[in-house]
Symmetry: C2
Subunit: 274 residues, 2 copies
């Protein structure tokens, strides 16, 4: 795989949450390093650092991706660049270590969140992420029922609903439009995050803030399960917009919007688990 | 057209708002009366009253339909049933009178709402209805921009967006998931209603209450444009659920919900215009 191909893959990905996409990117970096056609270690190092910087820029709302790529860049910078083969090996080991640490953080966050679920709890969640999948895996025996909205336009909710149903959870699939209808039946809302801003506001799939507003209105606790590597030092992030064609609407003169993320104010978050 | 055919048509309709569907039903009643194959006036009268009662039951959330059908039933009850031809004629005239009065009420409500729009106002609306179409027609020159969510699963928003674009309005089409993202840019939210309950709560297309929550959060005034014939004497109405297949999700063990209406509490309504 070439660097350009990996950058395009990460840029065009619509299926993965921030952590999982970071893992995909880190594995990809290892492959690119191994298949690199140059002959000098210091050139590979430069090539890798440039690739990591590019990858960090293509998904500006996904701070987890940027943070984990930065962790790898810091490790690569410290590597000696004398022997090419050895450097390729060390880059792979460094990427594995970053993934390993992130997976531990993920297990910690998912486990901490699962501990807060009471037996029989009815939970509403949103979008799909590896952290949420893991959390439901750990809490599987306790969750009484789970409501999963579609998450238009990509319908990632359908992926999560299918996954949770295969875990034998009692899964209820709804449109975003029905969120406030079913909220009164819920004991908890639990969502992941793509980033947590410095003031505590949560960047996640567009629509998340509607769940938070509805939960707040009905006095349902709203939990965000997000590892520390999702922390962002800034108070604001650019919110990525994707291809409007995904909405399937074209009519002369109608502007179609497809912003993928929204911001849930920290005041609407009952608790963040990390 | 036979009575059964009309009942089925009203039951299966997904495209019309409450008023427009009532107009369709009232026209249908006239046609059924004209094509009735019996020979006695009193039997036609009985047949019509039975048909009106059946039509009122098939769409329990659409109180406007029930109210206008009841108005027609009251008029038919007062008609002499001596001559069949004359009765058929009188039924048509009565239906026309009910439609005419309702259209006047609709023009009054739409006009009153249009008067409240200030030049350049950015408006968010939801779903589609003849009252809303008329209102935007009347306010056409004043509306600066209009945001129209899809209104899943039927995407009635696409119909309205196309209609408003053909009026040369600046139309912006979004998913329900993006409602809270674009709300801060809006000056007003304006929606129609399928019914207004006795305590003032508003029954409208599922998702309306999310617009109300988001508007409330961002201090955007939330207007309901609903004629008096949408008033319901009860504090609660059954909320119709339609075929789950409309969501396009089927996976073993996943329950799919498709409730078509939700209730917006009167406390979230800035003003009702009727």
């Amino acid at each position: 795989m070439q660097a350009d191909e990996l950058v395009r893959q990460v840029e065009e990905d619509r299926q993965h949450g921030a952590s999982e996409l970071a893992f995909v990117a880190l594995q990809g970096v290892t492959v690119v390093a191994h298949q690199w056609s140059g002959s000098r270690g210091y050139l590979l190092k430069r090539h890798m650092l440039k690739l990591l910087a590019r990858l960090g820029e293509v998904r500006p709302s996904m701070i987890a991706l940027q943070n984990l790529l930065n962790q790898l860049a810091a490790r690569i910078k410290r590597l000696p660049a004398t022997d090419l083969r050895e450097l390729q090996h060390e880059i792979a080991a460094a990427a594995d270590a970053v993934v390993e640490n992130a997976r531990l953080a993920q297990q910690h966050a998912a486990g901490g969140m699962a501990d807060l679920i009471s037996p029989g709890d009815v939970v509403m969640t949103y979008s799909v992420s590896s952290t949420m999948k893991l959390m439901f895996n750990l809490a599987e025996e306790k969750v009484g029922k789970v409501y999963v909205p579609e998450s238009r336009p990509g319908n990632e909710g359908a992926l999560l609903a299918a996954y949770l149903s295969d875990l034998h959870l009692d899964v209820h699939y709804i449109t975003e439009a029905q969120v406030n209808l079913f909220m009164p039946q819920c004991d908890k809302v639990i969502v992941g995050a793509d980033a947590v801003l410095s003031q505590g506001d949560v960047v996640n799939k567009a629509g998340t803030s509607l769940l938070a507003l509805s939960a707040h209105y009905h006095h349902v606790p709203f939990y965000v399960c997000a590892e520390r590597f999702k922390n962002c030092r800034r108070r604001q992030l650019p919110l990525e917009a994707m291809d409007p064609v995904e909405l399937g609407m074209s009519h002369e003169g109608v502007s179609v919007h497809n912003v993928y993320f929204d911001i849930t104010p920290t005041a609407l978050v009952t608790r963040r688990v990390s």
